[in-house]
């Protein structure tokens, strides 16, 4: 099937988001849609997926004009959509989520749970994924949820699949498997639109690229003819600085030390310490337990046993509020579930952490909060209309920057950043790296959790690699490399050198 979108316009209020965009996606090809945060990628795809109406313009399927009033109509026409943010129902098991809205029914209209479960197990087997179809979605890690979404779209027998940043919470092996699946589908004639801010992924898997900048299609062509630097330049309109900022590494005294920390299920026997001015990395694969570890240290979950020292004093952290008072900050991953408060505006989302810090007699110091955030808007390049707009009006990457802003404003002694650049565009990523390096130089102890080896190598002085809930090994200094990290992450050991 050939999908054409012609002369699409879309605005939100005064904000003209798409201007005369025309694109074509052919069956049997994987086409990248890239652009800065807020360029209009998700909006364009929401129009194709029947989520939003266009102001003007037409969609053609195989040359016939169509109109989608809602997502169901788009799906019926053969277009499956994996959204940027997770869209599963927490209170249902995996297999029922897989068939949401397309439930299989037996005679008398009863739900045919057995068949649905079987089909789910079948696709997991084909994708080589170990996941119980009967598990409740609520209990799944964000990565597994993303996998469930991808499998669901794949199972729909769609002719076109839209993938809006499907890899942001996956680790290397799952990304490989998703890519294999995409290739299989492509060879069967399915057209795939792939949105990602990781340009090397685009180079890996896509044949064609389309670049949106400020709502206009500014470049398209064959991936084979360009480099990642070219793509980055198309996106921002000028050359992107890629050279690394070096910082003067001045590592001071120990700030946080953890001894023999154990959790009921997620991790065990954890020992590490981090010093002032140091950037310590934590990486690993799916199910390594690093997020659970730091959410527990931050006081959000209970630990079974173990001891924690802060500035040489043993502390028992009993709540996140307590952790914050002690000077520990934790930016969670998976922003939709763990960070975004959808009923509050942008400013409130960006200042919730610092309300109690700057309040006078329990009253929020609005002017100060506004001042702090205004600085961050410039620094992080957050694209917004008014700071009192709902957080839902921001694009995914810009929401991530708001979440980052609230923790930067808090200035803790120890700042834990869990997947901090999720969904952030190339330019902003560099800016965030600079900020992190700068904070370390000012004497903060920083812990970066990431599944991107590149990010770890780029930022960290040393990194601990976790495997199935324990620390498998350490890599450090200029000799850090992807190979060693991957080896430890899969349970191997490094040969003594």
């Amino acid at each position: 099937m050939i999908v054409e979108m012609k002369n699409i316009y879309k605005s939100f209020g005064k904000n003209q988001v798409l201007k005369d965009v025309s694109i074509t996606i052919n069956g049997g090809e994987i086409c990248a849609l890239i652009g800065e945060n807020g360029a209009g990628k998700s909006t364009l795809m929401n129009i194709l997926g029947g989520v939003l109406p266009a102001d003007s313009g037409t969609i053609y399927l195989d040359g016939k004009p169509v109109r989608f009033a809602n997502p169901a109509e788009s799906l019926r026409a053969g277009i499956a959509f994996i959204h940027q943010e997770l869209n599963l129902i927490n209170d249902l098991p995996v297999y029922e989520n897989m068939f949401l809205g397309r439930e299989i029914r037996s005679r008398w209209g009863r739900l045919d749970l057995e068949t649905m479960e079987e089909k789910t197990a079948d696709i997991f087997r084909r994708m080589n994924i170990e996941l119980d179809p009967r598990a409740m979605v609520r209990d799944l890690d964000a990565s597994y949820k993303q996998i469930v979404e991808i499998c669901r779209a794949i199972m729909m027998d769609a002719s076109v699949i839209i993938m809006d940043e499907p890899t942001t919470s996956l680790t290397e092996p799952e990304i490989r498997r998703v890519f294999q699946m995409m290739e299989t589908l492509r060879d069967q004639g399915v057209g795939i639109i792939f949105i990602s801010h990781k340009l090397n992924e685009v180079m890996d898997i896509c044949e064609r690229y389309m670049v949106l900048r400020d709502g206009e299609l500014v470049a398209e062509g064959d991936v084979a003819a360009v480099t990642t630097d070219d793509l980055a330049r198309f996106m921002v309109g000028h050359d992107v600085r890629t050279e690394q900022l070096t910082r003067e590494v001045r590592i001071g005294e120990e700030v946080l030390r953890v001894e023999n920390l154990n959790h009921r299920t997620a991790f065990r026997g954890i020992n590490f310490s981090v010093r002032r001015g140091e950037i310590l990395g934590f990486t690993g694969l799916l199910g390594d337990g690093r997020s659970e570890l730091f959410q527990a240290i931050f006081g959000a979950d209970e630990v079974l046993s173990g001891r924690v020292w802060l500035d040489g004093q043993e502390v028992k952290i009993h709540s996140t509020e307590h952790a914050l008072e002690l000077g520990i900050g934790y930016l969670p991953r998976n922003r939709k579930e763990n960070a975004i408060i959808k009923d509050m505006n942008i400013l409130e989302n960006a200042s919730i952490v610092t309300w109690p810090l700057f309040a006078k007699r329990g009253v929020i110091d609005i002017n100060r909060q506004e001042g702090l955030f205004t600085e961050q808007i410039d620094r992080l390049g957050i694209r917004l209309q008014r700071i009192t707009d709902s957080i839902n009006t921001l694009s995914g990457g810009n929401q991530q920057k708001v979440v980052l802003a609230k923790w930067l404003a808090a200035r803790p002694k120890v700042l834990i950043l869990d997947n901090p650049t999720q969904g952030v565009d190339v330019g902003a990523k560099e800016e965030i790296y600079d900020i992190i390096l700068d904070l370390a130089e000012q004497g903060l102890a920083i812990i970066v959790l990431s599944s991107e080896a590149q990010e770890i190598i780029r930022l960290c002085d040393r990194a601990l690699v976790m495997y199935q809930g324990h620390i498998q090994g350490e890599v450090s200094g200029g000799t850090m490399n992807e190979h060693d990290i991957m080896r430890l992450a899969t349970g191997g050991v490094l040969s003594a050198s």
């Binding site: 605005s11 939100f12 209020g13 904000n15 996140t320 579930e337 960070a339 409130e348 952490v353 109690p356």
Partner: protein, 347 residues
């Protein structure tokens, strides 16, 4: 190609529609105004002079407001509770329990607690008011702890305390009818210019304070955060349990105040029936005013509007001569209709 500016609505209707979409109170205010106009028409203009008509109209209104002040005050606390994602079914029973205890303190008979201590007059009244608020505070805090530390669902926990408080009160008050000193009744019945509006003033003052609390204070905003996304609030350093306990505690204190108003209005209390149904009326006021039962959404101002809508509606049905039993049905209709109305926001 010409592009339509969808966001730029012009003309009266366009601007109206924009307000409708962006201001959650706009529709509620419109409905209230409509009802008030209708009510005014029904009251009629069958009077000798404009002055007389106005005074009749005003008296009707003062009656409406005064009769709803107690529930109106409770509804303000209920709003915070519902925004956190909870519910408090025990407000009616708490009201009776506090009322009974306060009356025992004030009793001018031989069993009167303060009287036996030799405390009478103003000091006794002040002590009683403070006691009522403290008792509400303690009961509310206990409910909150039951829900947070005890991890019992709010519906179940407060259903339990609702039953316990009412039955215990009834048991202890069997055959005992405390007599409240006449002077104490001034608290609610003080007349200024021949009109009694003290309860209305209490309601208004508390509403204004709480509007400020919910919009400007750390706790007020944290309530929204907790109700909207509890995990995200927690991971932003919000002490979720304390925020929730705070909401139930505040409700308890407000119930204490409502209880004093009730006692001061008539000097007696029917321990079997007083306050029953208040929980539903308070919830209805919040919901009609735009508070979402799923948490995260709602305003104090909205709840005041909601309470007024329900009150005026009641008054209207009364004026129309609708039989009392059917009036409850009308309340149900308003609640359901308002929720359907508010769907537009989530779309």
């Amino acid at each position: 190609m010409k592009v339509m500016e969808t966001g730029e609505k012009t003309g009266f209707v366009g601007r109206l529609r924009l307000r409708w979409a962006n201001d959650s109170h706009f529709g509620t205010v419109l409905v209230l105004l409509g009802l008030i106009i209708l009510q005014t028409l029904v009251l009629g203009f069958d009077y000798d002079s404009v002055g007389q008509w106005f005074s009749a109209w005003g008296r009707n209104w003062i009656n409406i407001l005064r009769n709803n002040a107690g529930v109106g005050i409770i509804a303000l606390g209920m709003t915070f509770v519902i925004i956190t994602g909870g519910i408090d079914l025990s407000v009616g029973s708490t009201l009776v329990a506090i009322g009974a205890a306060s009356m025992m303190m004030l009793d001018i008979g031989p069993k009167g607690f303060l009287g036996n201590l030799g405390i009478t007059g103003l000091p006794a009244y002040v002590l009683t008011v403070i006691f009522a608020m403290l008792m509400g505070l303690v009961l509310g805090a206990l409910t909150g702890l039951l829900i947070t530390k005890g991890r019992i669902a709010p519906f179940v926990a407060t259903l339990g305390t609702m039953k316990i408080l009412r039955s215990v009160t009834q048991h202890f008050m069997q055959g005992y009818n405390p007599r409240v000193p006449r002077e104490f009744l001034q608290l609610a019945n003080l007349q200024v210019g021949g009109l009694m509006f003290m309860p209305i003033i209490y309601w208004l003052a508390i509403a204004l304070i709480l509007i400020y609390v919910s919009q400007r204070t750390v706790w007020g905003r944290q309530v929204i955060a907790v109700g909207s996304n509890e995990r995200a609030a927690q991971l932003s350093g919000v002490n979720v349990n304390r925020v929730k306990v705070g909401a139930y505690t505040l409700t308890g204190v407000l119930v204490g105040i409502a209880s004093i108003i009730q006692v001061a209005r008539i000097g007696t209390m029917d321990f079997a029936n007083a306050g029953s149904g208040y929980e539903m009326d308070a919830i209805a006021a919040a919901v009609v005013g735009g508070t979402s039962m799923r948490g995260g959404r709602g305003t104090i101002f909205g709840t005041v509007l909601g309470m007024l809508i329900i009150a005026v509606m009641n008054n209207l049905l009364n004026l129309f001569g609708v039989p009392p039993f059917l009036r409850e049905a009308a309340k149900g209709v308003i609640v359901i209709a308002s929720v359907l109305f508010q769907r537009k926001e989530s779309a």
